[in-house]
């Protein structure tokens, strides 16, 4: 154990730049949860609208459509535990309002606020108020009410709050270590969600081969792009019809679109190395090695390589790598075990 002796020179005490590990993690999770909530809001919004566009879709088709979204989210088992049928209402309920789903929009915003509350002294008043207002907005209405008045406005509000929050991070948060954790959390989440949005299409089964390239297929690929806020960017880039492999290429490899996997991973790699103090040519930590490898793939592979080995498999591998990167960073910079009794003792403290 390194123990400073009484006679040893005092350690540095630069108050402004010191960041508690606990604070760093709250920043990371707050940022992740907000990004997650926004992604689910977008995904649900786009797909609910997509189904509206196709009059006379059969019940089975609707069910298959939502199944594909459940599968790509990785939460399909949890859904099956609590719901029988995957239709627009039940899946929206599950992803937006269900507290039993830790990834629902409501749960995400609750968790983001809980983290924000822990570090209120560290973030700007505006950042706090934005999260708190979103929280109050969500708790102010029931899902029945939202469903009755139209979910689009609801999702819009969630998205707008999340955008406002990211904007406030950019305009009110100092560029210090905390900023690195905020960005790292947000980008990791964004990268993960982009892979899942793309993966949705893998799970959608087209009724027959003749439908490939047809109106339904194109609409679905459009929906994928819109789910990643990428439709306009894609159009400007390719200026052509929407082709499946082009969509995949764009969402995976684009080096200028900020939600593409490549773009996100490049940023993740930068922030990760700063957080872990990785300055050498060869990474020292497993997390840095993983991110370097993933980045190398994204820089060197072509879309044909990906399609040959299977798009779904590629996306799955990327998700796994991102998970491990996140976990390792949390572990390296965090020392606390989860303690359930802690909350109880915190409550008991008498405040006169």
């Amino acid at each position: 154990m390194a123990s400073p002796k009484n006679s040893a020179p005092l350690p540095p005490r630069p108050q402004a730049t010191v960041m508690l590990s606990r604070v760093a993690h709250s920043l990371y999770w707050m940022s992740r949860y907000i990004e997650r909530a926004e992604n689910f809001a977008r995904l649900l919004d786009v797909n609910l609208q997509l189904l509206l566009d196709f009059q006379g879709v059969t019940t089975t088709a609707v069910e298959e459509h939502w199944d594909s979204i459940l599968l790509s989210s990785g939460d399909e088992k949890l859904f099956e535990e609590h719901y029988e049928l995957a239709d627009s209402r039940s899946v929206t309920e599950f992803f937006a309002f269900d507290r039993r789903n830790p990834n629902s929009i409501l749960s995400c915003v609750d968790s983001a606020r809980e983290n924000a509350r822990m570090i209120r002294d560290q973030i700007s008043q505006e950042m706090w108020e934005t999260i708190n207002e979103l929280y109050l907005y969500l708790h102010d209405r029931t899902s029945d009410e939202i469903w009755a008045t139209g979910a689009a406005e609801f999702f819009n509000n969630v998205k707008r709050s999340a955008h406002l929050f990211q904007g406030l991070v950019a305009s009110t948060y100092s560029r210090n270590e905390g900023w690195e954790f905020l960005q790292f959390g947000c980008l990791l989440e964004r990268a993960d969600k982009t892979t899942r949005i793309l993966d949705v299409k893998y799970h959608i089964l087209l009724p027959s081969a003749a439908d490939v390239g047809g109106a339904v297929d194109t609409a679905q690929w459009q929906a994928v792009l819109r789910s990643a806020s990428a439709l306009e960017a894609y159009r400007r880039f390719y200026v052509r019809e929407i082709l499946p492999w082009k969509v995949a290429e764009f969402l995976i490899f684009s080096d200028s679109f900020p939600r593409s996997l490549h773009f996100c991973v490049a940023e993740i790699d930068t922030f990760l190395r700063r957080i872990l103090g990785e300055t050498g040519a060869r990474p020292r930590t497993e997390a840095a090695r993983l991110s370097r490898r993933l980045l190398a793939d994204l820089q060197s592979l072509a879309i044909t390589d990906v399609l040959e080995d299977g798009l779904h498999e590629f996306l799955l591998e990327a998700q796994k790598a991102l998970d491990r990167i996140g976990e390792e960073v949390v572990q390296t910079t965090m020392f606390y075990p989860a303690e359930s009794e802690l909350g109880e003792q915190q409550q008991q403290q008498i405040q006169q």
């Binding site: 108050q15 508690l20 509350r117 802690l342 909350g343 003792q345 403290q349 006169q352």
Partner: protein, 481 residues
């Protein structure tokens, strides 16, 4: 219609705004005029705007006893409580006198115990007290100050005399509401402030950080001060964050701190950084599992050793609870006389000690006419208001007092003064108290103002936030009207 036109009844109480007969007291005159010019709708709009602002900003406290752990805003009443300068001068002098005597008492109790030898306070009451820390006998606290932050609760009797109801010398809370209430009132009535000459309360955070820095060990020119919170689940977490932010110091939990070689460090992403002063909002019992409660997960193992070694300062010091024990409270007037040779400027409420045979007999026979309090509870818990309680509740307390007399005191019920308060669409009289905040650094400062708490339930005398209380902004005037 103006909001002052309703039929306001002062009842048989001292009313802060209206003199007997209904005339507005001089220091409320201009407020009355301003309110008289507001329609009910305008007033309601202002109230709604203020409530919304509190909710948005998360100015909330958490109530646990209902299992849900719900966050609530502290109900805020737009009618301020106004104190003219001359009254305040006296309150201030009384509070300074009191904290000076209490500090001398603590110093004595933990050193020579002259006060016990001279039979001013029965030794058993001190040595057997729940918050007496014998581990700290003969320990010299930094700068000789035990209580750096004090919140003393004052009430007014039927004649309008200020009396001390209790001292809070461990972790007094509420200062953040004093400041937030002021900023809410400023937004609601900007023009009124300009003309009224209200003394600002915003200096509190500044005075607090100065008082904390005063404690830092000498050798550092840039000491690190932190606020130690139990954590986000604590009811006062908002306040901890608020004060830390105002002072620009880090807020830490026990798990963020570590002790090495009797020095306290915080765990940062850049390694360990030394801590010099801790403003702790955790009870003594939980501070250090190696010395006090072994099951504490909120504290820091080794913290007490670091404190003893003089490497870190704590505010407030350990063991101050002995001086705000409600039994010791009864002796404070004698303590002021004993240590300062002065008469108390602010008197106590007449108090009966269940530990004294004669008083005990009186309490047991008259319990339905008295207010009974247990010696070490806070937040309005563990007390009985005889006149407002059922026979069963009274007899329950009678048994408790008989079984454990040391743990109880009784007081004559004081008909706390009332202030016009907005209730159900009209102004009605509601009982209030006042908690000013006293800081003891290189000098003693009393922030001009404080937290006025109001019992919103009709007829209720309990002002605690956990028991249906709200608060008002407290205006101390530059002048007398």
């Amino acid at each position: 219609m103006s909001i002052l036109h309703s039929h306001y009844d002062s009842g048989n109480f001292f009313d802060e705004m209206f003199a007997p007969g209904g005339a507005t007291r001089p220091h409320y005159q201009r407020l009355g005029e301003r309110l008289g010019s507001l329609t009910q709708q305008e007033f309601d709009e202002r109230r709604a705007a203020v409530d919304l602002a509190f909710l948005r900003r998360g100015v909330t406290f958490t109530v646990y006893h209902d299992n849900a752990g719900t966050e609530r805003i502290f109900p805020f009443d737009l009618m301020p409580r106004i104190i003219p300068n001359a009254e305040w001068q006296r309150i201030e002098a009384g509070l300074v006198q009191r904290i000076t005597a209490l500090n001398l008492f603590l110093d004595d109790v933990y050193h020579g115990q002259k006060v016990l030898k001279d039979k001013i306070v029965p030794p058993a009451l001190v040595l057997g007290a729940k918050h007496f820390r014998r581990e700290f006998m003969n320990f010299t606290v930094p700068r000789g100050i035990y209580v750096h932050i004090c919140g003393t609760d004052l009430i007014r009797d039927a004649q309008g005399n200020y009396l001390v109801l209790e001292d809070n010398l461990r972790c007094p809370s509420g200062a953040s509401y004093m400041i937030e209430n002021r900023s809410a009132m400023r937004r609601a009535f900007p023009n009124l402030f300009q003309s009224y000459g209200v003394r600002p309360v915003e200096s509190y955070a500044d005075d607090l950080v100065k008082a904390l820095l005063h404690l830092a060990p000498d050798q550092h020119d840039k000491p690190n001060v932190v606020l130690l919170t139990p954590g986000v689940f604590n009811s006062a977490y908002f306040e901890h964050c608020f004060l830390a932010r105002q002072m620009g110091i880090p807020i830490v939990e026990g798990r963020d701190l570590v002790v090495r070689d009797s020095r306290v460090f915080m765990r940062t992403t850049a390694g360990l950084v030394a801590v010099d002063v801790i403003y702790r909002r955790i009870d003594d019992d939980f501070l250090d599992p190696t010395v006090f409660r072994a099951d504490s997960m909120l504290g820091v193992p080794g913290l007490v050793a670091a404190y003893r070694a003089g490497n870190v300062a704590l505010a407030n010091s350990i063991g101050t609870g002995i001086a705000d024990d409600k039994v010791i409270y009864a002796y404070v007037p004698q303590l002021i006389k004993y240590y300062l040779d002065q008469d108390p400027i602010l008197p106590n409420v007449k108090t009966y000690l269940a530990s004294e045979p004669l008083d005990r007999k009186f309490i047991l026979e008259n319990i339905e006419k008295l207010v009974v309090k247990s010696a070490n509870e806070a937040g309005g818990y563990g007390m009985l208001i005889g006149p407002a309680s059922t026979k069963e509740e009274c007899s329950q307390f009678r048994n408790q007092v008989a079984a454990n007399p040391r743990n109880f005191i009784a007081q004559d019920p004081i008909m706390l003064s009332r202030s016009p308060t907005w209730c159900d669409g009209q102004l009605e009289g509601r009982h209030i108290d006042l908690r000013p905040y006293i800081l003891y650094g290189d000098k003693i400062t009393v922030t001009p103002g404080g937290l006025t708490r109001v019992a919103l339930r009709k007829g209720s005398l309990v002002v605690n936030s956990s028991q249906g209380g709200g608060s008002k902004d407290t205006w101390v005037l530059q002048g007398d009207e």
